[in-house]
């Protein structure tokens, strides 16, 4: 390994360093405030590292691939992690609870996500995913009081273990068929292996996709999502929805692209069914939710169903056109989804805290008149999820529709339109609840005039609007990745 490769690993090194410093600090002097600052500085250093590493993009050993695309998502999830950190600061800290370990877990989880994003080999894929996942169990179960977090953590643990088992078995099958564990190597040898032993290769790839599908919570692997979303502390839910899912999707895209899985019709068929089921089931079940965290859980199921269209479109695109549009579509949609989800969870964390009854829809009634900044942020987030123009979500949907038309995926397009039409109802319900002028006004403790959380919410609101109304710079940027 030469210096350049070491520099390319700068984000990972910075995060590891932060983790070590946190551990040492905890053994010398336990201090929550100090631990928070160390984590924050660590994240900022990592952000700098991600920018610095752009000079040195290259494959690092056979395990990791450091490229502009991966570094962009590294930056994005670091921003999401910073928001999570800010929300965690006073979101759940009843007396007596020690949170140094929470910050340590957060750092480790982000480290796992970064490895996942840059993985180019099945070993690093598994390493990244397990590191991220194991740290997340701890974060979900961190509040000492209450049964919901514990239940959520155990549910997530058991199902994640199943997912990992499937993933490993899939790796084994692929290795048996191709004799290679790196994505590129597998892709190169897969065609020959397919002609000899199609079943082994297909079964292996399908199991890997299923394992990743668990983490993305696409139908039919979605059962855990609402309970975990509801039970986890709200900042952790936001983290799970953005960092964890985003990183897994990036890894899935790399595996799918470099492994050249788009050549196999049976896999495409399976993906199409999964995508359609996610769009329709996710949106349909969201209609019946009264808890905003569960509602967003189902909405995220639908959103990853939408996003899968991109991967399916890629298959059709191979022969007909350049894949430039597809790269832009993934980048834009994922970025829009992450920013929007962050905005939504910032508001929820701010208002509901850890009180489960306050994340019911009825608790949001009249929010417009009590806290206009937070209410506007949530409104814009909902409109962005629903894909209304001038928001980031609309441009994302614009890309998806354009791609489906280009690749002539009419059935999927139909599901997208139907799903979006259903979705308007539950997004509007939230907006309607907030605009009610009468009704049960739940008193919230009066905060300082403009707290840090208001500023975060306002910034995210502006970001969603900026991406939606002036997307040209970002499109150019995404096109250059």
């Amino acid at each position: 390994m030469n210096t350049g490769q070491l520099m390319a690993l700068m984000p990972i090194l910075m995060l590891s360093l932060t983790a070590v410093v946190l551990m040492i600090q905890a053994s010398i002097k336990r201090d929550q405030g100090l631990a928070w600052w160390i984590t924050a500085i660590g994240f900022l250093l990592t952000l700098w590292g991600a920018g610095y590493a752009r000079e040195f993009t290259q494959p690092v050993t056979m395990l990791l691939m450091v490229d502009d695309w991966g570094l962009f998502f590294t930056t994005l999830i670091l921003v999401a992690s910073l928001v999570t950190l800010i929300l965690s600061k006073d979101s759940f800290s009843p007396e007596g609870e020690r949170k140094e370990e929470y910050y340590l877990l957060l750092v480790l989880s982000v480290l796992g996500a970064v490895v996942l994003i840059q993985s180019s080999h099945m070993a690093s894929l598994l390493l990244g995913m397990e590191l991220m996942g194991v740290a997340l169990y701890g974060m979900i179960a961190f509040p000492e009081k209450g049964e919901l977090p514990l239940e959520a953590a155990i549910k997530y643990l058991v199902l994640s273990a199943c997912a990992s088992a499937m993933l490993l078995f899939g790796f084994a099958l692929i290795y048996a068929a191709t004799g290679d564990l790196s994505y590129g190597g597998m892709g190169a040898k897969a065609a020959a292996a397919f002609s000899q032993e199609p079943l082994v290769l297909m079964a292996g790839s399908a199991m890997v996709l299923a394992g990743l599908g668990f983490k993305l919570s696409v139908v039919p692997f979605h059962m855990w999502t609402p309970d975990v979303y509801q039970g986890a502390p709200t900042p952790v839910t936001g983290f799970l929805a953005t960092v964890s899912k985003g990183a897994v999707f990036v890894a899935l895209t790399r595996f799918y692209l470099d492994g050249q899985l788009y050549q196999y019709d049976s896999l495409i068929m399976a993906l199409s069914v999964v995508a359609m089921a996610s769009m329709l089931v996710g949106n349909w079940l969201a209609l019946r939710q009264d808890n905003i965290k569960r509602l967003l859980a189902y909405s995220s199921i639908a959103h990853f169903g939408y996003l899968l269209i991109v991967l399916i479109a890629l298959a059709a695109a191979q022969s007909t056109m350049s894949s430039e549009l597809i790269g832009q579509a993934i980048t834009f949609y994922l970025a829009a989804y992450i920013v929007t989800t962050l905005a939504a969870f910032t508001v929820i964390a701010n208002l509901a805290g850890e009180d489960d009854s306050k994340s019911m829809l009825s608790a949001f009634e009249g929010l417009f008149w009590r806290n206009p900044v937070q209410a506007s942020a949530l409104t814009v987030a909902m409109l962005s999820f629903a894909g209304i123009p001038l928001t980031a979500g609309f441009i994302g949907k614009f890309y998806l529709i354009m791609l489906s038309i280009q690749s002539q995926l009419w059935v999927l397009l139909g599901a997208l339109v139907l799903g979006s039409a259903i979705a308007i109802y539950y997004y509007l319900r939230i907006i309607f609840a907030m605009s009610k002028t009468s009704g049960t006004m739940i008193k919230t403790e009066s905060r300082a005039a403009l707290g840090a959380q208001d500023i975060v919410a306002a910034l995210l609101l502006l970001l969603v609007l900026a991406l939606g109304s002036w997307p040209q710079p970002f499109i150019e940027f995404a096109g250059a990745l």
């Binding site: 529709i401 309607f432 096109g479």
Partner: protein, 505 residues
């Protein structure tokens, strides 16, 4: 820039109106009125010196320089999306209608709104801004944007200040329009994609997308996407079910804007986009569309007749009247199109006025149920006389604007199909029935004893002034419709020429 300014004035005016509530509850509506008047004055002053206005030349659909005004600026060059606005005779008519009815809506909200005055007037102004955008946008992406974005302030107007069942009505309104809008988005993108395959260039500009060559089958599906979005908004039978709820539950100013202006965006879309972009497919489809139009005329009238809710009756009458517009557009000859445009303007005034009367009645009686009214003329003679005038206008009394409109539509339609004309003409008779029933049940007949000691206040200065404006407009349109026809004529002429070259050899 003039057109961008027109929209910006309203947007900023909305913000000012919202903030001005701190100075007092009465301030926002004054601000709103001033802003709209300013906008109108600005538009008129810009038009004043224009020589082309007195002698409107036919704007060529594919040549922007022949239009009254044209503005284009890059927006998202990656997809060939630009901020492209243009004004011709028809859009100018619609813009003027929007601003005048906007001022009337502010007047309607004068005493109607009890809470959050600032936010209400802001939403009103933002809706107007969105509608202006719809009438002026010639980039299909921009058009779709305005089409969707104007829904949000309208949604708030119904959801926050509406009547008892406002949540349901607002939701239904939004979902119907948004879902059909998605179809339009898909059709737009597919059209752009077809154009991209043919020319290798991304463009959302109306001028580039006209005459896009495509297979018959494709054109058919794409046309359907636009058609459904527009007839849901129009609304035409059987897509009208959102309308009675939304119009009935909206506050008075909201109903005025909905019925007076928002419905016209659907009709405008049909004339500007659905037919010219796909002339052949539209021609094939015209029989279905005309059948829907005729069905709407009769069905709307029958349903209007059986209502007991004053506002709901007026709402259903809109379905009937908009059926004429659909007939006029798809007959696609000059007479019928003139009639459709005329109907858009005349119906805007007559229905807005009827909704204002409904609002005034509700304010005074706290009910919209006509079974609890009766003999109101004795207590409120001025309001009765005004109501009589607009009811007569609505049923198509010769000498008033609506008559000219419906007559022209029927005349043009007769050349295409005497049978459909015969069915549509039934609408004139049924129209007379429900309109007179409305008048009889509420203003005439035995006074309702329960209302005797209500101390009903008749129309006063502000209300009479507003009503007079609309009466003058309708009489003007009825007796001397030529200016309006002259404004629309060159546009329609060029549209007809363009579509006829290809579609009707």
């Amino acid at each position: 820039m003039v057109m961008v300014n027109l929209i910006l004035i309203l947007l900023l005016g909305g913000v000012i109106a919202m903030l001005s509530e701190r100075a007092g509850e009465n301030i926002p509506r004054r601000v709103a009125l001033v802003v709209i008047m300013l906008d109108l004055a600005y538009l008129l002053s810009e038009l004043w010196g224009m020589p082309s206005l007195t002698q409107l030349q036919a704007p060529m659909p594919d040549d922007p320089s022949t239009w009254l005004m044209h503005f284009k600026a890059q927006w998202i060059p990656a997809f060939g999306i630009s901020i492209e606005l243009a004004l011709d005779g028809i859009s100018l008519l619609m813009v003027l209608l929007t601003l005048v009815l906007g001022a009337i809506a502010v007047s309607a909200s004068w005493t109607d709104i009890a809470v959050k005055h600032g936010f209400f007037e802001a939403n009103l102004l933002w809706t107007l801004a969105g509608v202006l955008g719809v009438f002026m946008a010639l980039d299909l992406f921009l058009f779709f944007l305005f089409w969707e974005v104007m829904l949000i302030p309208m949604y708030f107007m119904i959801a926050i200040w509406g009547h008892e069942n406002r949540g349901y009505a607002a939701m239904k309104f939004f979902i119907f329009t948004q879902a059909s809008g998605l179809l339009m988005l898909v059709a737009t993108l597919a059209l752009v994609k077809v154009n991209h395959s043919a020319t290798g260039q991304w463009s959302f500009s109306y001028f580039d997308l006209l005459n896009t060559p495509m297979p018959e089958q494709t054109a058919h599906w794409l046309m359907l996407g636009f058609f459904i979005a527009f007839v849901v908004k129009l609304p035409a039978f059987p897509f009208h079910t959102w309308l009675p709820d939304a119009h009935t539950q909206a506050p008075t100013a909201g109903s005025v804007i909905l019925a007076g202006i928002l419905l016209k965006t659907g009709a405008y879309g049909l004339i500007r986009f659905a037919v010219p972009l796909f002339p052949e497919a539209a021609l094939d489809f015209s029989w279905t569309a005309m059948a829907l139009g005729a069905a709407g005329v009769v069905y709307g009238a029958v349903l209007a007749f059986s209502q007991s809710d004053f506002k709901r009756l007026v709402a259903y009458s809109s379905v009937s009247h908009m059926g004429f517009v659909l007939l006029g557009v798809y007959a696609w000859n000059e007479l019928a199109l003139q009639g459709a445009v005329m109907q858009m303007v005349a119906h805007g005034f007559s229905t807005a006025a009827l909704f204002m009367i409904a609002g005034s009645l509700q304010e005074r009686l706290h009910t919209r149920d006509m079974r609890e009214m009766g003999g109101l003329w004795q207590q409120m003679p001025r309001m009765g006389a005004v109501a009589m005038f607009f009811v007569l206008a609505s049923l198509g009394l010769p000498g008033l604007g609506n008559f000219v409109a419906e007559f022209l539509v029927l005349l043009g339609l007769f050349q295409i199909s005497p049978w459909i004309t015969a069915v549509a003409a039934l609408g004139l008779i049924t129209g007379a029935i429900y309109s007179l029933i409305l008048m009889q049940k509420s203003f005439q007949g035995e006074p309702n004893p329960k209302l005797q000691d209500h101390g009903l206040v008749d129309f006063a200065g502000r209300e009479m002034l507003t009503m007079t404006v609309m009466m003058v407009a309708l009489i003007g349109l009825g007796l001397y419709p030529q200016p309006v026809l002259d404004m629309a004529q060159p546009v329609l002429q060029s549209l007809l020429e363009m579509t006829s070259v290809e579609a009707m050899p």
